[in-house]
Symmetry: C2
Subunit: 111 residues, 2 copies
């Protein structure tokens, strides 16, 4: 992971991988996030999205949604699905907040 | 999109969104990638992953795999699915290349 990324997309991929392993390596299985590790990751890295809620409710909800095989651990694929869903939600938010751009050049959404 | 990201994960999300729109805005529908725009994005941003192949074969394959609704355009969600799959593949590659780490502290993969 020491190779310098040569584009924004490669940087983004490296950041996702590094951030996951920064937390997943803290306790138990080094390659999955426990409930505690997920909570730390969410509050430290995505606090502004989750409203810095101090209670466990948001973390429990995310964990239950993500933990498809119900073993109390979130693996890297499950983490990427969460990040993908969040990124799509963010993108929709940006598009929705710029409705005046949508129709320009006859280039609006085709359906 | 001018707000400074406050963590690596937020930076990664912003990079994915910005890179998509840098290419999707070039022609036709501003919010989807045409075949030409996808090719430009793949070769300029992910050239090192795709081996800088000059031919269209890799691009055609990716486009056909991604374009679920078969309209010749890749939308943001389809793009994120591609990036997620690539990131999971990269992560697996890094883990596979460090087998000596896997068993340490009895913290290897549980199945």
């Amino acid at each position: 992971m020491s190779k310098e990324p040569s584009s924004n997309l490669e940087s983004a991929m490296q950041m996702l991988i590094k951030t996951f392993h920064k937390y997943s390596g803290k306790e138990g299985d080094k390659y999955t996030l426990s409930r505690g590790e997920l909570k730390e990751l969410l509050t430290e890295e995505l606090g502004s999205y989750l409203g810095n809620s101090k209670d466990n409710e948001a973390v429990e909800k995310v964990m239950n949604d993500l933990d498809a095989n119900n073993d109390g651990e979130v693996d890297f694929t499950e983490f990427i699905i969460l990040m993908g869903a969040l990124t799509v939600a963010c993108n929709d938010f940006f598009l929705d907040s710029k409705p005046e751009d949508k129709g320009k050049d006859g280039a609006g959404k085709k359906d």
